[in-house]
């Protein structure tokens, strides 16, 4: 299935959470300015990058996205003052968490794209598609494969948990 897809023909799916006031407008502007960019991205409009709880990012990764982009206003320009700073905090936590679990954190991107920067939006999508093509399909997106190929090598018993004994 997905692991058999050869890398050259692999088209990554990107879910992009874009804030209403900036990044989403930038995506719109890219469209109305007829800037061509890859069709791999599905956009979801949110009111602010700060309102994107990591649960949505994790859900997207588990449900078939190869990468997730969170787009917010340039720092200092958030419509709600500090939403994007808080989005960055959430991203710091998510990245550290994924790293600790041996899961590739570089599938989750955070970018500041102002409303007038359709060009940057286009460039980010190009860049992300390239990066994800290099990585190949997201191993998190086939849940049953994940469960089945759990190695069974680390049962509760073998960790030093008195519970399992």
């Amino acid at each position: 299935m997905s692991n058999q897809i050869d890398k050259d023909n692999f088209e990554p799916k990107i879910v992009a959470f874009l804030c209403h006031w900036c990044s989403y407008k930038a995506a719109d502007l890219a469209g109305t300015s007829r800037l061509a960019y890859p069709t791999n991205v599905r956009t979801i409009r949110t009111m602010c990058s700060g309102s994107v709880d990591p649960v949505y990012i994790i859900k997207a990764l588990l449900d078939g996205a190869d990468g997730v982009l969170v787009g917010g206003c340039v720092l200092g320009d958030c419509h709600y003052q500090s939403g994007n700073y808080k989005a960055r905090r959430k991203m710091i936590i998510l990245h550290a968490q994924l790293r600790a679990l041996g899961i590739d954190e570089d599938r989750v991107w955070l970018r500041w794209i102002s409303a007038s920067d359709g060009v940057m939006f286009r460039d980010v999508i190009f860049e992300m598609v390239e990066a994800l093509k290099a990585k190949g399909p997201n191993p998190m997106k086939n849940p049953w494969d994940i469960w089945k190929s759990a190695k069974g090598g680390w049962k509760p018993k073998t960790i030093n948990s008195p519970r399992g004994e």
Binding site: V55, Q97, L101, I146, S149, G152, P156, P162
Partner: protein, 373 residues
């Protein structure tokens, strides 16, 4: 200024010693109520009780060898601002840390609480403890014996072949003291005496004389700290080596049923109503069938990975390492090392130690102008 004082035990009975200390706290009006572990079921286990006076102090043991619940949750139930009733709450260091996190989350108030902290050598799983004391035939004698051992710094109870082992979270806990308590009781390296640390004014009020902590106390503290820190780091290293992909996470969670016991037990899981307990996660049958159509094979119950990845994300910055998640899991899933390893990475990155400084804001409620992901 805080001072040390030593409570001498007659006939080596530390339980009587702490009982008379609590009696004094009541009599001097320092506390009106006391939340404290107390023996039930003929001493086979201990539970937290909230008692209203000196008549109910029989069988209290602040150094309880078991921990049924992270009592920060209980302290938050009795902490109120609008009262002159003082509640003494006997808490282990991980419980004090959780309480401080709850204060930051606006889910606890300290105003009327007198925090009586203990230096903690660790706790055992409840079922194993009950079995041990039952087999011994004399619950209190066994309790005394084991407590003396672990508080003298004996490491046997962390060994593979021990008759009973400390909870896995306790085995790797190197924050077993807490300096933010109003009063601290310690029997670490104290033979039969009890060391108490408190404000000098309070000491005077209780008629306690200032004294130096004996060197045996400091030695045990230091040795235990070193041994635990070493064990903690090794456990994190081992975990890091094992976690190579999502499959390793699935391995750990293979038998999870999303029963929510871990979430209920966690003092840091702060939402009043968890998102995972809403309609979103009990979808109508047709939807589940559609998912199966899409996946081909669907792990049931669904969303185990999402549940744990999300819970990990939400508690990582504040996880106090109490291990109640693991102790509550009927499947024996090693949640303590899972949550603490992630917590450790996240907290290091944020330069935040949960439950230490009440004035330091929660990492998710604040930010720095300059920081990198």
């Amino acid at each position: 200024m805080k001072v040390n004082s030593i409570l001498k035990s007659e006939n080596g009975d530390i339980f009587e010693t702490v009982k008379s200390f609590f009696t004094k706290l009541f009599e001097e009006g320092v506390i009106d109520y006391l939340l404290v572990p107390q023996r039930i079921s003929e001493g086979k286990t201990l539970t937290q009780t909230l008692i209203k006076g000196v008549d109910y102090l029989d069988g209290v043991n602040p150094f309880s060898p078991v921990m049924a619940i992270n009592s920060a949750k209980l302290a938050s139930q009795v902490g109120i601002a609008e009262t002159d009733k003082k509640v003494g709450v006997v808490l282990k260091p991980c419980e004090i840390r959780a309480l401080i996190e709850l204060v930051k989350l606006n889910q606890a108030k300290l105003d009327n609480l007198v925090i009586i902290g203990i230096d903690c050598a660790g706790t055992f799983e409840i079922e194993q403890w009950a079995k041990l004391v039952e087999e011994s035939g004399d619950a209190i004698a066994k309790e005394t014996e084991v407590l003396k051992d672990i508080y003298a710094g004996k490491t046997d109870y962390a060994e593979e072949d021990a008759p009973i082992r400390l909870r896995s979270a306790c085995q790797i806990c190197d924050r077993f003291t807490h300096d933010k308590a109003d009063i601290t009781l310690s029997i670490l390296g104290m033979e039969d005496d009890v060391l108490v640390k408190l404000e000098d004014e309070l000491a005077a009020k209780l008629g306690l004389e200032a004294a130096e902590a004996p060197s045996s106390h400091k030695d045990v503290l230091e040795d235990m700290k070193n041994a635990r820190t070493y064990k903690r780091e090794s456990a994190f290293d081992e975990f890091r080596d094992k976690m190579q992909s999502m499959n390793d996470m699935a391995d750990i969670l293979a038998t999870c049923t999303r029963c929510y016991a871990c979430q209920t037990a966690c003092p840091i899981c702060y939402c009043r109503v968890c998102f995972f307990r809403t309609e979103t996660f009990s979808p109508e049958p047709a939807r589940i069938l559609r998912w199966a159509d899409k996946e081909g094979a669907l792990r049931m119950p669904t969303e185990i990975l999402l549940y744990h990845l999300t819970r990990l994300n939400h508690v990582a910055a504040s996880c106090v390492g109490c291990g109640m998640c693991e102790s509550s899991c009927a499947r024996g899933i090693p949640l303590s090392i899972l949550f603490q390893s992630v917590g450790n990475e996240v907290q290091k990155k944020l330069e935040y130690i949960p439950g230490m400084n009440i004035d330091e804001e929660l990492p998710v409620a604040t930010f720095k102008q300059e920081e990198t992901i």
